[in-house]
Symmetry: C4
Subunit: 234 residues, 4 copies
């Protein structure tokens, strides 16, 4: 029953990737996790299926190690990245992978996105980090899982909180974003693309532009996320 709801959420999140233009062709995928049972279950898009024809029953269900529990189609080729993120970041409930144009360009340039403004600060606490490239060893010994591993390594090395920093750029590849559920993850993927566009033009206009002062970014982040949140109808 809950799983039925999750299936529908995951279909909606995948369609939202297409509707917002975050991934050409089928270069993107969304998943969600149900952690309420004894064994957590991951619901993910099948590989290479068009967003527009995707139905809840097409989705693939796996456990946190990627073992298929249900589903006739092959899961997204990025499955092992999703499951590793769910294992390592227990606070998150949805993961989205896109090839959105500006975020992917920052990833290809190997640059993290500085916090140049309040829109960024409302969603991401500090820069959007970029991973290191995968080593030859990591590529040959489980490329997709190790894509997750370089993300986690970066977060551990910097002491980053995946709730406060809900996305990342994988160097030479593309962005991943996450959130409390699949809908939240796709919103973060969309905002990430938006701030990547703003930041691209900011550095073009001012090559030595620096991040906004800490007192401004803290205020914005806490306005939406702190205990005294003032944004929206809560």
């Amino acid at each position: 029953m809950l799983l039925e709801l999750l299936r529908r959420q995951v279909v909606a999140a995948n369609q939202e990737i297409a509707r917002r233009g975050l991934a050409p062709h089928t270069f993107g995928n969304a998943s969600g996790v149900d952690r309420s049972g004894e064994k957590a279950l991951v619901v993910i898009k099948p590989s290479g299926v068009d967003y527009s024809t995707l139905k809840p029953e097409d989705l693939v269900i796996t456990d946190l190690d990627g073992n298929i529990v249900e589903g006739k189609l092959r899961p997204s080729s990025d499955l092992d990245t999703h499951t590793l993120l769910y294992r390592e970041f227990p606070q998150i409930g949805g993961v989205v992978h896109t090839h959105s144009e500006f975020a992917t360009s920052w990833a290809q340039a190997g640059r993290s996105i500085p916090c140049f403004g309040t829109t960024h600060a409302d969603y991401f606490h500090g820069p959007v980090p970029v991973t290191e490239p995968l080593t030859a060893e990591e590529v040959s010994s489980g490329y997709v899982r190790n894509t997750g591993a370089v993300i986690v390594r970066r977060f551990r090395a910097e002491g980053l909180d995946p709730v406060a920093v809900p996305g990342v750029l994988v160097a030479g590849h593309a962005p991943f974003a996450w959130g409390k559920d699949a809908a939240d993850a796709v919103e973060h993927a969309d905002v990430l693309e938006y701030i990547a566009r703003l930041a691209f033009r900011t550095v073009a206009l001012n090559g030595s532009a620096g991040p906004i002062p800490g007192h401004v970014s803290e205020h914005h982040y806490l306005r939406k996320h702190g205990p005294k949140a003032t944004y929206g109808q809560r």
Copy 2:
């Protein structure tokens, strides 16, 4: 009765923000003021409500100090900026805040937009100014009101007329625009985005591009705004 009309104008201006793509998600808001009564009344968008479902009765009505006079929803989190602008710029009747992409990029770069061409000159007399960043003191002692205060400070310091310069870039944040009513304000917000796009490409093509000669910009500004205006069917 008049207030009913104003409500409809403010709903239309908020929808125009969305229709023209000036603000992703709900990152934008429009308000109008009725100065005809003994006490001026501000009509503003509620916080975090989607533009497409916004109805006149959802709007919040406050006095010029931001005290709520009518409305069940929480007003836009930017209310105190709007009311300060209405108090300090008594000539204006509408205020619009957007996160339009190119204007926001100039704001993030901390650069004012030079008057590179006649389209700019038709609407803005001189550069579109950029504020200073807010100090830590200003952030902690009334962030939203002080966002208005840095705008006004910039206009006073430069001796700018808010009728001749109907918009501003708040450094590290985004643009505000205003006009004789909410519809005029949203048109200025849209033109500001357009000239920000042109100016972005102008500096990319010619890093040492200068403003158009004063005799050209004066001619254009007066063509639309002076007593001998020749544009349109007046």
Copy 3:
């Protein structure tokens, strides 16, 4: 009777400006000329009227000196530029003025657009020229007519043929394009915007990019315009 046809062509050309996104708001206009009678007649858009509601009977008819022959509305504020171009370039039958984004950015940057590729060469023989800025004297003694005068001066100085070079950038202002009729003029305005976009990115990718070799550009130009034209179903 012929004039009725011309009215419809000019309405269609003005709507095409809007449909192709070549001018925001009402920043653009198209006209056509009927040179078949004893006295040539110019049919032009009225000033400040929305493209979507424009009807053949709204158009203004003038002689080549801009004297109104028929029409209740005020003609486009750019009328005197159109009529001067019709007087000085007797080969042309339609004129279009836009504020299309990339062509306007080149105009603001004060740079002519080099012939970087075959698409350019198919339509423009050599660079798209940019005028000089108007002097203070020219602005005060007939600004709109002198906008046409600086265009013609540039063509005379360079020995350019307005049939081979069907458009120009007015420095610090925006583009004008023309053609054998209003439909041809709007196609040239659209191609001009397209090649301005290509050229913008070409110089960003290669700051020292030069024009294509003369033997290639000649071949392309003559392919579409020479006596042995091979393009299309002629």
Copy 4:
């Protein structure tokens, strides 16, 4: 009978060029080849016909030397490039020529597109090559055929496999792409435009950005093309 199917595929591919915005006006064309008979037959778009009104019976059928076998309209002016590619690259079944904006800008800049990321690597094995400009001799002695000849010369000089590198930039002109059939060719033309956009922004963000490591690009290329392909529902 087979030819009827091919006609429909070629119409669909031409319409896809327009639908994906890969060529303004009629600056683009798609063809397919039927190699099943004794004599291979090429089906190609007629010259200067609008995509939206194109019907299967409008197409022109030629042999591999460009001799017309069937069709009342004049074939695309680029016919001789298509037929030369079919003669020299016997593995390919469809050719598409576009003037898509970013790929054309790279062609105008005379730069090949480095493999900056995994999306590129999924489709193109190594950089997207750029040809040399045509010499005066090549222009005068069969310009269109020699456009194909400079493409082939570049592939031979670099030892490139047209199956692994399904597209090219013709210097100062525009891209060509190909594939196993016309639909595959148009998909490659679309992906080429996408990676050209990403690469444009990558070099703007990081002028010294290098290609992704060989172990990553090999992995991605083989993931989609090798015998152990894991992408999609195969």
